[in-house]
Amino acid sequence: MGNRVLLIEDEPNIIEAISFILSRDGLTVHTHEDGQTAMAKVLALPPDLIILDVMLPGRSGFDILRDLRVNDVTKAIPVMMLTARGQAKDRELALRLGASHFMTKPFSNAEVRDNVRNLMGA
């Protein structure tokens, strides 16, 4: 099992925080900020785990998730949704679309780390 994580998120401070947490846990973190080109980024170098925000510039995280799940190359990659939209219907939608896990912001660092470890180990 590899250790590459792709973080698709547009808020600089949150990118920095998550990168710090996961790097400290021994993972390689790649980041991408734009929704429109996110799919191309994934296909160029398929990661072992994707952490996906919902409100992205250019394209919604839900749409990206839908694309990931119909593409043969990416459909097996675990995806953890991480969003400030914490409503129940968002969670339901994410899981129905095939998200591996759904987390809301703000989060505890330990929780992120544990969920990532679980998904990577699966």
Partner: protein, 896 residues
Amino acid sequence: MVSFNILIAVALTYVAALFTVAFIAERRASAGHVGWLQSPIIYTLSLSIYCTAWTFYGAVGYAARSGLEFVTIYLGPTLVMIGWWWGLRKLVRIGRSQRITSIADLISSRFGKSTVLGVIVTVIAVVAATPYIALQLQSVTLSFAVFGQAGGQDWQDKDLNAAAIWVAVGLAVFTVLFGTRNLDANERHHGIVMAIAVEAVVKLLALLAVGVFVVWGVAGGPAAMLVRIDASDITLWQQSGGRWVSLIFLSAAAFLCLPRMFQVLVVENADERHLNVASWAFPLYLFLMSLFVVPIAVVGLDLLPPGSNPDLFVLTVPLSQGREGLAMLSFLGGFSSATSMVIVATIALATMVSNHIVVPLWLHLQADKGAVMSGDVRHVILLARRLSIAGVLALGFVYYRLSGGGTALAAIGLVSFTGAVQILPAMLGGIFWRGATRIGAALGLLTGLVVWLWTLFLPSFGLDAVISQTAMDAGPFGLHWLRPEALFGIIGMDPLVHGVMWSMLLNSGMFILGSLLSFPTPVERLQGAQFVNVFEHSTAARAWTTTSAGAEDLLIMAQRIIGSAEAQAIFQAEAVRQGKSGYLPEVTPEFVARLERQLAGSVGAATAHAMVGQLIGGSGVSVEDLIAVADEAAQILEYSSQLEAKSAEQARTASALRDANEKLTALSIQKDAFLSQISHELRTPMTSIRSFSEILRDADMSPQEQERYAGIIHDEAIRLTRLLDDLLDLAVLENGQVTLHRQTGNLAGLLDRALDAAGLHDGALEIVRQPAAEAVMLTSDLDRLAQVFINLIANARKYCDADRPKLKISVRAKGDAYHIDFVDNGSGIFPENQQLIFEKFSRVADQSKAGGAGLGLAICREIMHRLGGDISYLPGQYGAAFRVVVPKIWPGPGGR
């Protein structure tokens, strides 16, 4: 002695020469070489058809019989040309801009394309002109007889009749050949006009030659001539002032109303500037024509045996002195006068008869037969025109025969004038009085016609010819007050003055009364405005050159006039013809012209032109006129428009409800979106704060790292605070609990402050300003105003997506407010979002780059309302564009 055969040969040669002149002129005109054919001199000379054989021969006879009274016949037109050229100009302009073809057409067009009026005027014109044409036939025939008798032949009545027939037939052929060669939309006849101009010169030269001969050859110089004139009783003042004035009025009015005069004055006029020359040249022509009348009359009375016909002095005086060449020239002059008048009068009358009687009748019959209207109506019109010419000349000949060619004819000239003059009230009223109506015109014309027939025309046939002696003396059916020469018991008046006075008085009276009591139709109103205000409306060219009207507008109008199915069929056919898909064709000038013709079938040519003109924008009616017409239509169609208003109101209400519903729905969606958004906006800084505080708590790190993460926590905390401040600010503004401070300051300074505060240090946004316009003082809450400006500038910085973002700030004073526009060069805001952006909690979805929660513009709008101003989005500016309207002097919070 000149043999009669030579005379015939000379006459025929002269006609052949005229023929050639007309032919060449026609050829040049059709080849486009109009040039001198349209010179003002030719125009002036063509006006000389006013001087007919009646004037050429008759003026001398008139002078011999009645002294100086003949001068009135020249004075009338002279006064019109000199004193009323502006009225003529209006007439000519109307004629050109409305494509008037005859005086009947003028009256009919003016009063809403009324067929009935066209027929009435045509009848009046034909009845009044027929004796006049007979008069010309008589004078030509008599002049032949003079030569015949001088040659020793004994002329009998049958010879005269034969000559008259030949003359009539010859004139008919000439007129048909040149008067109906082709159908010109403007009814111009270059060949005829040219021939007439030549004839005008011939008759003037002839009369001058005879005059010169009489003064210098017979009398022995001007001095001797004056002595002879003094000795005669011609110069004695023999007439009442009333008759003098009546005659001047009559000849002036006839100059305008005679169909042939209208033909040359208005219809054949190529350029209204020609009137400038004609206004002095034509009076000069008349002056020269009248110069030798008195000498010829005086010498004729002296030289010739008592009982000789003074009407023929112009011929007989030279003949009696053995001057046969001069007599021949004089004959040609008289011949010219007669033929030119007959030709033009016949063309004018034939145009009227065929346009207003024959063709409508034919179309009516065709429609009854159910025949499909063929496109080729031209040959029918030409045939009608030719038959009408023959018919008019035949009428003249018949009248000549019936009246016995006797002296009764001599008096008919003035009677004829009076008949034609009946058209005057309707004509003048039509071009100067917008209130004139069709009913009024018809009443006036008919009244004038009847009074004229009764008081002048019928009695002119002689006693017991039409009206019995008893009726003349005691009135018809014993009605005393209806005696033809003493209407309403007015006795002792000159019959002519009596007839003129009553016919004009009753005619005008009925015209005015009828117009005041009746209501003009919309089409009449429209035409009335076009005629009365012709100088505001008219244009020189009648062709549509611009094509600014949308095909759709034209279609909508056409549907209103000729019905949806037919209009759509026409448009679709045209689109197919142009090879375009869809049902709307290209608006080409040809198509517009064709459409106009189609519409003209329903609403009349002038109205169709006006309506199309309104859409095309080439010419047409003014907005005021259209409003007047619309008012009219609204009154007439009151019920219908009320219904329309109601349904329009319902539609408006429904639309307003729909709008409100959509807005509510949108707001509700926006509100949901806002909750989501506000959640996101609050959670994002909180996420960073929580995450980094955990990092600081859990891990060992360098002081630099510690400082950096603490800084992030600090920034995000401030971001949170600002968001909460915005929410609070808006809540306070909305509840009106805000405290505003009234200050006075410089707008430029305020903008400087806002630009500083918006933090444009990176130079990413270029600012374009107008220092001059900004240098104004205003009184407001300057801090709040600056807040609005900052918001707009910051928005431009955040959202402007141009490669080189630029924000233009322009200031304009308007009324008691300043308009301050902020326009950037980005892609702007989608139309569907332009209203939503000012709603609180809204943030246009695809611009998530924004730092705020979509409260900025809502706050701005709230502030501007508090400050007595407004802020709005300006659509169509090729970028995001906001306008801030701020009062120059805000009275303060309580002053609203």
